[in-house]
């Protein structure tokens, strides 16, 4: 029942996304000039419009798009003439890997600090977390990315001077991180299995390559984590402090259960649903919301791809990215629902 309900709701949401996206992309100017240039004759334009089905009523065009979509056909890029689905199959894993590592980084700082801040408000770690959260929400992600690139890639090789009195030469240092030019520095990628270079390299047994891929991931992931982690920190803090103040936690202590047991069995368990929910939402949001960071790091993901599509008025590209981001959102939501369903007995009745 629960499952059936969800599936129907999700299908309706997706259909709405496709309809709205389709209407917007089709109603903002004609894609003809973009693919042909402006210096062409009326006749050619007319012929091309006929070919592309642009003379059909919009409803018919939508129907055509939808039936193709359901068969996995997302159209063809009008610029590169490559099927959009093929491009997305290459670029989506790049974005997904970056977003995945972003969450890994957030699980390293935002959630532990949030737990700590909930358990001990006003403590040093609570203040550290709040400071990081304040910083994260007040700087733009692309700016932070540029700052990291400047400080950790650009600057070290340019430090080069001599301390006068003691005659000590300082620098130049090697860059701490690779140039912001994509997922690997000119090396061949590993054979495609999952599309995550770190994982594929490990599958191929190439540890150097895995390390290289990881090294390229760190700066974009840290950048995105610092700017998308603050809500995770705050929600974790609130959830933990609310759970901690529950009567059942005091009752558990009163039966003589130890602090560790109560924290894991009662506090963290009861605090986890909202955190899990937000983590999934953050993942979904970053699939499309990390665009500027992708651009800054020349990350060949679907965000960069969408920007490229927009630059060229390549509407099928833009629409496809919107739909893919929505599908991912919806699937994540569904998975989180399933997990919460398994965890929380109240949802099962």
């Amino acid at each position: 029942m629960f499952l059936a309900n969800r599936v129907v709701v999700l299908a309706v949401v997706l259909l709405a996304v496709v309809m709205i996206g389709f209407t917007i992309t089709r109603s903002t100017g004609t894609p003809l000039y973009a693919s042909l240039g402006v210096a062409v004759s009326e006749a050619i334009i007319e012929q091309r419009a006929e070919e592309m089905g642009l003379n059909e009523p919009i409803v018919v065009q939508f129907w055509t798009y939808l039936t193709h979509l359901l068969q996995g056909d997302l159209g063809v890029s009008r610029i590169s003439r490559i099927p959009v689905a093929e491009d997305i199959a290459l670029k989506l894993p790049a974005t997904a890997e970056m977003v995945f590592f972003t969450l890994v980084v957030s699980f390293i700082w935002a959630i532990p600090l949030g737990v700590r801040a909930g358990l001990r408000p006003g403590g040093r770690l609570a203040k550290l977390g709040e400071g990081m959260a304040q910083f994260g929400v007040s700087v733009p992600a692309f700016w932070l990315g540029l700052l990291f690139i400047f400080l950790l890639y650009f600057l070290p090789p340019r430090i080069n001077f001599v301390i006068p009195v003691i005659d000590l030469a300082v620098g130049p240092f090697p860059p701490l991180f690779p140039p912001p030019l994509g997922r690997l520095g000119g090396v061949d990628p590993p054979a495609m299995v999952t599309g995550f270079y770190t994982v594929d390299a490990l599958i191929a047994g190439d540890f150097r390559l895995a390390w290289e891929a990881l090294w390229h991931l760190i700066l974009p992931a840290v950048t995105l984590s610092l700017t998308s982690g603050p809500p995770l920190f705050r929600v974790t803090r609130t959830a933990v402090s609310e759970a901690l103040a529950s009567p059942f936690v005091e009752a558990a202590y009163s039966y003589g259960l130890g602090r560790r047991t109560v924290l894991i069995r009662d506090v963290l368990r009861n605090a986890s649903p909202p955190v899990l929910n937000l983590a999934a939402m953050t993942f979904g949001y970053l699939i499309g919301g990390g665009v500027l960071v992708e651009v800054v790091f020349s990350w060949p993901g679907i965000g960069s791809y969408a920007v490229w599509g927009m630059d060229n008025s390549d509407y099928d590209v833009v629409l496809a990215v919107v739909i893919i981001a929505a599908v991912i959102y919806v699937i994540l939501y569904f998975i989180v629902d399933l997990i919460q369903f398994a965890m929380d007995p109240r949802l099962r009745d």
Partner: protein, 327 residues
């Protein structure tokens, strides 16, 4: 003031003070609580809401809310000081020696864990060796509380229990730990009349069957009068009068006790009237009598001298300038 543990008492509180630091300043809910509980007996504490009854129970278990601390007095369990127990000893003391039953039975259970898991975990925390499967003990524990189909209840989650069932589960949980003192914080306040009577009867019966003592608190004098042999009257963080039930119910000495008694008719179930005036908010320490503003017997000395304490023999005690021998 601190006279040390009374001979043979299970639990002795002397001059217990609690301070809670809140964002809007300190609160002083307990301002010198004296109380003894002897093995196997039933003691009741009664007082209006906000008098510090729940805080008294929490201080016995050393369970303080965030920002709260026991800032004065002593809590003795037999001949040990509860305030000096280390973490391990405290864990053993909680549950195995003293267990608590809470006012809201549903929120006192973890909503995400089955009844079975909660009882079994309490068992495991308090019994070194179990001669049998813990699930079997959990089933027995529920059967003691007159659950006809314990197996079905064990599989349930708290939201699937009615208030009365949830409170019986809480009682089973507390008893499962095998304590010699049960603290009951208004255990029937949220339940309807018939369920109240049933749950109280069960509680008394099970406590007596185990020779455990019961410290029962309620704002409802009738509920306390039903179960307790000795009754303490609590006001503004102090037990202002203590004595045997018959004495407290027929000729109480403290004006507050008399006012409480006048508000209820013990022979009917009518809703009690209330005493004019309000319980203080406990943001100050009151060296003088905190009941002065509401007291009909207030004298000049009440506004000048700190509250005296009269030991009246037996276990009777009175904190009032009137003293025992008036009218």
């Amino acid at each position: 003031m601190n006279s040390g543990p009374a001979d043979g008492a299970l639990l002795t509180l002397s001059g217990v003070e609690v301070t809670i630091n809140t964002l809007s300043g300190p609160v002083h809910p307990l301002q010198g609580v004296d109380l003894e509980v002897f093995p196997g007996e039933t003691v009741g504490l009664v007082g209006e809401s906000g008098c510090g009854k729940s805080m008294t129970l929490r201080s016995i278990l050393r369970l303080m809310p965030p920002g709260g601390a026991i800032t004065g007095g002593t809590v003795e369990w037999q001949d040990r000081s509860v305030l000096d127990l280390d973490t391990d000893e405290l864990q053993t003391y909680r549950g195995s020696e003293v267990a608590m039953i809470y006012q809201n039975p549903v929120t006192a259970l973890d909503p995400m864990l089955s009844v079975e898991r909660q009882i079994v975990d309490a068992f495991k925390a308090n019994r070194e060796v179990l001669d049998g499967a813990p699930e079997e003990f959990a089933r027995e524990a529920l059967r003691d509380l007159e659950f006809g189909n314990p197996d079905a209840i064990l599989k349930r989650y708290p939201h699937q229990l009615s208030g009365g069932m949830a409170q019986r589960v809480n009682i089973a949980l507390a008893l499962a730990c095998g304590p010699s003192l049960i603290l009951a914080d208004e255990p029937t306040t949220g339940l309807d009349m018939t369920t109240q009577v049933r749950v109280l009867d069960l509680l008394e019966q099970q406590v007596h069957a185990r020779n455990a003592a019961l410290l029962f608190i309620s704002h409802d004098l009738r509920a306390v009068a039903r179960v307790a042999r000795n009754i303490g009257i609590m006001y503004a963080g102090r037990v202002v009068e203590f004595g045997p039930r018959e004495r407290i119910l027929t000729e109480p000495s403290h004006p507050y006790a008399r006012a409480l008694l006048e508000c209820v008719d013990l022979r009917t179930d009518e809703r009690p009237r209330s005493i004019p005036g309000l319980v203080p908010r406990m943001t100050e320490v009151y060296p003088l009598c905190a009941f002065r503003e509401r007291c009909v017997s207030r004298m000049a000395v009440c506004d000048e001298e700190p509250l005296p304490r009269h030991e009246l023999g037996g276990r009777r005690r009175l904190l009032c300038h009137l003293g025992p021998g008036h009218d």
